[in-house]
């Protein structure tokens, strides 16, 4: 299989998957070395032509539309992207960098109650419960989800932007 065939085959696999697929599974299906698959994927990601793009998101690779054509996609699908409130984004940021973290710990940073926004974030599938802290009252711990990675378009938590010093 030459490089052109490899990237075309990858395109097929990503198309039928519709969601993020780990490199290992792609390599397995293609019977090609994972290292080589990764290189091919990186090359595909670097391309800027076409309405579709290859992206590394939430622990895998996927084929998705380019943001600059979103207005047409949303009109066809009749949807309107919904933004998170700033309060919700702040809370999400604290959880992302400090996870697993309890509600009271988040409140200590924000200086304000977070009950409402926690509900929103959970309903959007961006955070989930992650057991309980071995501390008085055994408060619930929270962590971010795969959905959160997709939300920011990152592969894993290591890709989170650096916190300011």
């Amino acid at each position: 299989m030459d490089d052109t065939q490899l990237s075309e085959a990858l395109e097929c696999l990503l198309f039928v998957s519709g969601e993020a697929v780990p490199v290992e599974r792609l390599a397995e299906a293609l019977e090609v070395d994972a290292e080589r698959v990764l290189q091919a994927l990186e090359a595909m990601r670097a391309r800027s032509d076409g309405g579709l793009q290859v992206a590394a998101v939430a622990g895998g690779w996927m084929l998705c539309t380019r943001p600059q054509y979103a207005q047409y996609v949303t009109r066809l699908l009749r949807v309107q992207p919904q933004k998170l409130s700033r309060a919700a984004l702040e809370t999400l940021a604290i959880i992302a960098y400090r996870q697993p973290i309890t509600g009271p710990e988040i409140e200590a940073v924000r200086g304000v109650s977070v009950d409402g926004v926690m509900g929103t974030l959970q309903a959007r599938g961006l955070i989930r419960e992650a057991g309980r802290k071995q501390a008085p009252g055994r408060p619930i711990l929270y962590e971010t989800t795969e959905e959160f990675l997709r939300y920011l378009g990152i592969k894993d938590l290591a890709e989170l932007p650096q916190l300011e010093a």
């Binding site: 943001p67 949807v79 933004k83 999400l92 924000r110 200086g111 961006l126 920011l152 932007p161």
Partner: protein, 257 residues
């Protein structure tokens, strides 16, 4: 009916403090505590005036600020008791503000990244959950609430300058007066009057209410009947020829007596 508007206003006391520090262009490590405290308290007052519920956390912060302010007014301890200067009363607050600010700017980064990524769609009819569960976005374009609150503050200050006094006249319309008026009209039009016509010429709210009560009162007394010839059509009010004969429903349609 009271129209209740809830604003995300300031996302908490720390947010409000950072806003004030930014507005005053002062150093976060050397906060002019007296000035900032005054402005913080003024902002709380304004929020109360706006009927924005001031959460307990805001009050706690106000107390903290006043405590720091009073501690800074105390003369420093005499040298013989302490070799070094005591800790700055503001230190703890500054640390909190700094940490909060870090996450605030991270949230800002999240927002810009998410802005791009909510416009990226995977294949298929299945939408990402955050897109599927959507309601119209009501966020004001690029206006922050702080900008709005500042603007409103300005308007209120200007409005205060105008101390004009207006006398408000109380409207004197009673149900009794409206009954007399309705009765006069019914006498003038034996075939009945249209319900709608009772309210057509320019009337005040009080007049409308009194007239409606007058109709109800006369109905209750059995002096008039109301018929509706057509479904959803206008109502006709007619005098009842006393005493009423049973089964005399008047015109076709529904009659209320």
């Amino acid at each position: 009916m009271a129209y209740v508007v809830e604003l995300d206003a300031f996302r908490g006391p720390l947010d409000l403090l950072l806003h004030l520090i930014q507005k005053n262009e002062v150093d976060i490590y050397d906060i002019p505590i007296a000035r900032i405290t005054d402005q913080y308290l003024a902002a709380l007052k304004l929020m109360e005036a706006l009927d924005i519920e001031v959460a307990g956390e805001f009050i706690v912060m106000a107390a903290t600020l006043m405590e720091i302010k009073s501690r800074m007014l105390l003369p420093p301890a005499p040298k013989e008791y302490s070799e070094e200067e005591g800790p700055d009363p503001r230190a703890e607050l500054v640390q909190m503000l700094e940490e909060y600010r870090r996450y605030q700017s991270a949230a800002e980064l999240f927002r810009s990244r998410a802005e791009v990524w909510t416009r990226v769609f995977p294949r298929g009819g299945e939408l990402p959950p955050e897109v599927a569960a959507l309601v119209p976005d009501t966020e004001l374009a690029n206006l922050s609430v702080s900008t709005l609150v500042d603007a409103l503050h300005q308007v209120l200050l200007e409005a205060e300058a105008d101390h004009g006094v207006t006398a408000v006249q109380r409207e004197r319309v009673t149900v009794r007066m409206q009954i007399a008026e309705l009765w006069r009209r019914l006498n003038a039009n034996p075939e009945g009057v249209s319900f709608r016509s009772l309210f057509t010429h320019p009337v005040t709210r009080v007049e409308v209410i009194a007239m409606f009560l007058a109709v109800l009162e006369l109905l209750r007394l059995g002096r008039i009947c109301v018929v509706q010839p057509h479904t959803f059509g206008d109502l006709r009010i007619q005098k009842v020829a006393a005493p009423t004969a049973p089964g005399d429903g008047g015109a076709a349609g529904t009659a209320v007596r």
